[in-house]
């Protein structure tokens, strides 16, 4: 009888069982991530070889050249990393409280529009320093307004924020095309052109002879502030409680709606500042491509780094490196620059997939100890 019971039991035991891990040492986590990235690069290598017949290792070397090949390139890579990082910093608090702000794209454009408007209408006789401060504040306000709307409805009526913020992106894009058509210069070009090219009012000044050093300083400061805000402030703690469980938060006396609104104001404001960076610190113009999909990429940056702004720097660096590298391959081998999106997609799939092995343990039949 006992024997019979045992065979039935082992017959029902599945081949693979999945168990949640309690904790995992840091080195193991790093190894899993590294393995995933290497695997992804190998898959991409095969793909590159299959499509264009090029030696993937040489392709990767020329990618590195594209991103870090000269001092100028390093600075451009750095500038774009900072842009992506800034958006990621903006999204981190919202995502940490499980508020799906897919609307960074629109918040960036709102901020960018505010910056461009300042440069166009206020630049007469304005000192550059004061101008930059005004632009910073107005961009942050514009971005905050764009983030506030979905948060208000979420707080009051629990309106789905994922889709609301997504739609706000397109409202912002159309608003931008409206202003691009309005500010068009020269007439008929359907673009705004470089604003204040001669006076350089509202442009980031050079620091130590570098065009983009101010971008780096500004964003790294924001990163440090955000790290402290999330980790050490009371409001940061409230955000993580709301993110873990809204019911727990309510039970603990946290006004969840208020946290939603406050955090989205902050999140939108920082994304608006990213728009300011894009306009005043990089392109000196505005177009519907000013955000250029980075609002979506930054979501992945924020998510993968678990809202830790330090790790965010590494992830944004990796993604910008891939992008610059792919541009270089595209021009070197006369290919199409969209290869970068393909490679980015594959690497992200692998990183997303590997997180499973960090959170769960797989037990095969017969290998686990009894008791």
């Amino acid at each position: 009888m006992q024997n019979n019971n045992k065979t039935v039991h082992s017959g029902h035991e599945p081949l693979i069982r999945i168990v949640k891990r309690d904790a995992i040492p840091v080195w193991k986590t790093i190894c899993i991530y590294a393995l995933a990235i290497v695997l992804a690069l190998v898959v991409c290598g095969f793909l590159i070889y299959a499509i264009v017949g090029l030696n993937p290792i040489r392709v990767y070397i020329s990618m590195a050249k594209g991103a870090f090949g000269s001092e100028k390139r390093i600075w451009v890579t750095l500038r774009d990393t900072m842009m992506l990082l800034c958006i990621g910093i903006g999204l981190a608090p919202a995502f940490k409280m499980r508020f799906w702000n897919i609307g960074a794209e629109g918040q960036i454009l709102a901020g960018g529009l505010a910056s461009a408007a300042c440069m166009l209408y206020l630049s007469k006789g304005m000192p550059n320093g004061l101008m930059l401060v005004i632009m910073f504040v107005l961009s942050a306000l514009a971005g905050a307004l764009w983030g506030l709307l979905p948060a208000l409805f979420k707080a009051r009526w629990n309106t789905n924020e994922t889709l609301f913020t997504l739609m706000m992106n397109y409202v912002a894009i159309q608003l931008t095309s409206f202003f691009v058509a309005k500010w068009e210069h020269p007439f008929g070009s359907n673009s705004v052109g470089i604003i204040n090219q001669s006076t350089k009012i509202g442009w980031f000044p050079q620091i130590l002879g570098q065009n983009y050093l101010l971008n780096v300083i500004l964003v790294l400061t924001l990163a440090a502030l955000m790290y402290c805000y999330l980790k050490y402030s009371k409001q940061g703690y409230e955000i993580s409680v709301v993110g873990e469980s809204q019911n727990t938060a309510r039970y603990a006396g946290i006004r969840v709606g208020e946290v939603f609104i406050r955090t989205m104001l902050l999140s939108g404001a920082i994304c608006g500042v990213a728009g300011f960076l894009a306009v005043a610190g990089a392109s000196h113009t505005i177009s519907v491509d000013t955000a250029g999909g980075q609002g979506f990429t930054a979501i992945i940056v924020a998510w993968l780094s678990k809202f830790n702004t330090g790790i965010m720097i590494l992830v944004s660096m990796l993604l910008v490196f891939l992008d610059k590298g792919a541009l270089e391959i595209a021009s070197a081998y006369n290919l199409n620059s969209f290869a970068s999106q393909m490679i980015t997609g594959i690497i992200l799939f692998f990183i997303l997939g590997c997180e499973f092995f960090i959170r769960y343990r797989i037990i095969f039949r017969g290998t686990h100890k009894e008791g």
């Binding site: 168990v19 409805f153 009526w157 309106t159 609301f164 739609m167 409206f178 999909g293 499973f356």
Partner: protein
């Protein structure tokens, strides 16, 4: 009258693209998977159909139209379903976050499609402008009597077969979701996977199937866009992406009901093209007008959340990962 007819036709052309996208996504979301990869999937479908037919037309002297259509539809369905499979594997088996995985799929799909779309010509050995004339013509063949029946013909008969296919599919899907056992099981999975699991429904299989088949249907939107809307060419202008997001918006607009996607999609089409038919708009105010589909969607979203009627809410477990041992 002619103005109205041409607006209606433009709306149907436009609407059919997003209708396919939305129907696929409705099926996916009914299983509780919020797949934000719809734009990427539509890209995959579009490029797969274009590439396969392109090589077929270049290989043979006299391509057979029916075979062209079959190749286009089949390859697009497979490519899109493959996109859905990547998403399913990551979110269902590996339990990755749905929003992030979906967005990655969009990045991946648009990268693959634009990469191949841009280099198809070069890969094929430089044959000039990519164009799949035979296939596109087959896709755009209208119903008989379209030209001889006046306004009625122009309004209802003057489209390629995929327009009618979309309508038939919506009716079939409605029947499947409301009347069949499998459809009701699928709803149960989307509403409460733990309960469905306890009732003996295979949650994993339902989610996989709904997501992959849903992706395949969404991909048809890409095929229709490439073959009919832009007449068998390729443009790296990102328009499939914005159409894909509109398809996601349409899912909300229809409150997850396939039948409503028929008139909903045409209404979106009318809203999108209306600026073209209203006199006195300048180039800049036109852009303001093009906001309407998005603003309407936001309003619908708000109204749904205000009224809180049970039949208008999305699947309760939408966006949540299911892990049997987690409570």
């Amino acid at each position: 009258m002619t103005q109205f007819i041409s607006l209606f036709q433009a709306a149907v052309f436009f609407g059919t693209v997003i209708m396919f996208g939305a129907m696929g996504e409705i099926l996916t979301e009914r299983s509780g998977n919020l797949n934000l990869g719809v734009p990427g999937i539509m890209y995959l479908g579009g490029i797969a159909s274009l590439a396969s037919v392109f090589f077929y037309e270049n290989m043979t002297e006299a391509p057979i139209p029916a075979l062209c259509v079959l190749i286009a539809l089949l390859s697009a369905f497979l490519a899109s379903a493959l996109g859905g499979l990547i998403y399913s594997f990551l979110t269902i088996t590996l339990r990755a976050n749905q929003n992030v995985t979906g967005l990655t799929l969009t990045i991946f799909g648009s990268g693959v499609a634009n990469f191949f779309g841009g280099s198809l010509n070069k890969l094929a050995g430089g044959v000039g402008q990519i164009s799949v004339a035979t296939t596109s013509a087959a896709f755009r063949t209208t119903l008989p009597f379209a030209n001889s029946t006046g306004a009625f013909g122009s309004l209802f008969l003057s489209y390629g077969f995929m327009v009618y296919l979309a309508i038939i599919l919506a009716i079939l899907m409605n029947f499947f979701l409301t009347k069949t056992r499998a459809g009701l099981s699928l709803n149960a999975v989307g509403e409460n996977p733990a309960t469905a699991d306890a009732a003996g429904i295979n949650v994993t299989r339902n989610k996989y199937l709904a997501t992959c088949i849903g992706a395949g249907i969404s991909g048809m939107g890409g095929v229709y866009y490439v073959m009919d809307y832009i007449k068998g060419t390729w443009a790296n202008d990102g328009s499939i992406e914005s159409l894909g997001w509109l398809a996601v918006a349409l899912v909300i607009f229809t409150t997850w009901k396939p039948l409503r996607s028929i008139w909903g999609s045409y209404l979106f089409g009318i809203l999108f093209w209306l600026y073209y038919y209203i006199g006195g708009l300048t180039r800049s105010t036109q852009e303001i007008f093009k906001m309407t589909p998005y603003i309407v969607t936001i309003l619908v979203l708000i109204i749904i959340s205000l009224r809180k009627r049970r039949e208008n809410q999305g699947p309760a477990a939408l966006g949540a990962t299911y892990f049997r041992e987690e409570r």
